[in-house]
């Protein structure tokens, strides 16, 4: 009995035990395939859509998915309240979500990394000022600030990217700065200083490359967060303007028909779920793989 109890406490941790989930964490097959499918669908979007995602056809309104009673095999996932094909709308929504997600993640990652490097490396007043700015962004309610910006700037894809980057960089800056602080103390950085390297060279050649692993993990997890944030803004009516087929907007519109046509809400939500799930799984996998310090699994 006692032996059995000691077992779990031994440092076996992840990956050794069998089962489906450990396997999925060991190989990012599941998340990799899902993300690859979404990226391909996002790139090929307009070629793949069976119908025009924006053109309405009132006579075909609220057709259920084809496996349900009254379904039409022409519209596999059914149609919405204006007779637009759900599958086509979800496919073209993929491109919007991915573009906004990727660009916002790259932009906020860029700003966050630059802030972290300057702040962590130079220290002193630069550090103090930049960290207070970071704290400010972190302490303000994320979605509310994004909503205010969206209302002030007006809804458009470019503005949405800008807004999500403005509220998203602080997380990177916080984590990467502490990383920079510890790397700065390493012997190879001191040696580089003694050898006469300039600050720019040290930052570029010796410090930045050592933060890349963390940066990749953060960016992967952030992609999911940004996609949900964008969907939430669109759901609240301050994200992507209609008639563009944003997933959040589709859920908001479908909500009015929830009793008669639940598929209007169901499918766009599932699309969001799968892509964010894949990001989170991949992020977790990378975290374990790239940085053994993170053990919060």
């Amino acid at each position: 009995m006692r032996n059995k109890d000691i077992g779990p406490a031994a440092p076996s941790r992840e990956g050794r035990s069998g089962g489906l989930l450990p396997f999925l964490r060991r190989v990012p097959l599941f998340s990799g395939i899902i993300l690859a499918v979404f990226v391909i669908v996002g790139i090929l979007g307009p070629v793949m859509t069976p119908h025009n995602p924006i053109k309405s056809n009132i006579r075909k309104a609220l057709v259920p998915p084809y496996w349900m009673k009254g379904g039409d095999s022409d519209y596999i996932l059914g149609t919405d309240h204006l007779g637009r094909d759900m599958l086509s709308r979800i496919i073209s929504g993929t491109r919007l979500s991915l573009i906004i997600g990727f660009v916002a993640v790259v932009l906020s990652g860029l700003v966050g990394t630059v802030v972290a490097l300057t702040s962590g490396y130079y220290g002193g007043w630069t550090d103090r000022i930049l960290m207070r700015l970071t704290d400010t962004v972190i302490s303000m309610p994320f979605l509310v600030v994004a909503l205010v910006f969206a209302a002030v700037l007006g809804p458009s894809v470019a503005n949405l990217i800008l807004i999500l980057s403005i509220v998203g960089w602080a997380g990177y800056a916080r984590v990467l700065r502490s990383e920079v602080l510890s790397i700065k103390e390493a012997d190879y950085v001191k040696l580089a200083k003694v050898a006469g390297c300039s600050s720019a060279t040290i930052l570029r050649r010796h410090i930045f490359p050592n933060t890349v692993n963390t940066l990749i993990v953060l960016a992967t997890l952030q992609l999911g967060v940004i996609i949900i944030a964008e969907a939430s803004l669109s759901f609240l009516g301050l994200g992507i303007p209609p008639p563009q087929p944003a997933w959040g907007l589709m859920v908001a519109q479908g909500r009015l028909y929830i009793t008669r046509a639940p598929w209007l809400c169901l499918f766009p939500g599932l699309a969001i779920m799968f892509i964010v799930l894949a990001c989170n799984l991949l992020g977790d996998w990378l975290r374990v793989r790239l940085d053994p310090k993170f053990r919060q699994i």
């Binding site: 779990p8 302490s139 979605l143 509310v144 779920m273």
Partner: protein, 305 residues
């Protein structure tokens, strides 16, 4: 230690000041407030008089100073829509948000702790996997969609719970779970990893070798030490729950601050938006500060420069 606390207090004050600048600039960015306050046919004299009343002709720094000193005195301007002081509009909604946040917090702490502890103790079993999937879903599902789907399942189809609004405890179940799922997940994951770290420690092995019953080892020796990071995180989570309920409150037509913010943004009622953002940011900063100070007292292992 005193030096560390003093440093953290100064930092927090500076952060709050920057927040106040940003909140002040919100209104500047959105254009001349007179456009909202005055009818289009207002005369030039009215326009100038209103500008004087609002102090718009003064230099911007002086305007900010007036805003800040007003905020400290509790005067945050009047709501354009409600024709009441913005602060009292906020205060009338705040208890509702608090009620939702407290129940949601209760949900997430109870379920999160239990799932986290059991997952750590029963590492690698089906329960652990179930806990992980539950946590993963909680962190991957968009709140608004969870809310709508729960309403569809439990209100429309099964007719067990009301769809929206405030009322008895049955009105709280769906919104509290919707809001809390993400935090249940966060709580469960942190509890699990924290428990795993502690269960590895020498004193746990010693307790087991001494023959302490397993349940006592887990609940007394391990859990007590594993809870510290869990509680620090949950303090911040609570504030996030309070300020982050926007989507949930909209989906369930909950008359809290989150919905007030959205309505005010749509109505361009910026004084109310200012109050909400400022108060939630201050709450967050203050909680963070208290957690850091508590940590410094509770955990002597932490050394500060």
């Amino acid at each position: 230690m005193q030096q560390y606390i003093a440093k953290r207090i100064v930092e927090s004050i500076v952060t709050v000041l920057i927040v106040s600048v940003v909140v002040f600039l919100f209104v500047r960015m959105s254009g001349d407030p007179r456009l909202l306050l005055l009818p289009p046919e207002a005369s030039d004299e009215d326009w100038d008089a209103m500008g004087k009343l609002l102090g718009l002709e003064k230099p911007i720094l002086l305007q900010y100073w007036n805003f800040l000193s007003g905020a400290i005195r509790g005067d945050m301007g009047r709501s354009i829509y409600w024709h009441e002081p913005a602060l009292s509009v906020f205060a009338s909604r705040f208890p509702n948000s608090l009620q939702l946040a407290v129940s949601s917090f209760g949900f997430s702490i109870c379920i999160g702790l239990v799932v986290g502890i059991l997952s750590a103790v029963k590492l690698g079993t089906w329960f652990d996997h179930f806990g992980k999937i539950f946590a993963l879903l909680g962190q991957s599902l968009p709140t608004f969609w969870v809310g709508i789907m729960l309403v569809f399942m439990f209100s429309v189809r099964l007719d067990w719970l009301p769809t929206s609004g405030m009322g008895g405890p049955q009105h709280l179940v769906l919104p509290a779970f919707t809001l809390g799922w993400y935090f249940i997940a966060a709580q469960a994951r942190l509890t699990r990893s924290s428990m795993l770290d502690v269960l590895d420690a020498e004193y746990i092995k010693l307790a087991r070798i001494k023959g302490v019953p397993e349940s006592l080892v887990i609940l007394k020796h391990a859990l007590k030490n594993a809870l510290l990071p869990v509680f620090t995180m949950s303090a911040l989570n609570f504030v996030t729950l309070l300020g982050g309920a926007v989507v949930t409150e909209v989906v369930f037509a909950w008359p809290g601050v989150g919905r007030l913010v959205v309505d005010s943004i749509f109505a361009r009622d910026y004084p109310v938006v200012q109050v909400c953002v400022l108060i939630f940011s201050v709450l967050f900063v203050a909680t963070n500060l208290m957690v850091d100070i508590l940590y410094a007292y509770i955990d002597p292992r932490i050394r500060y420069q």
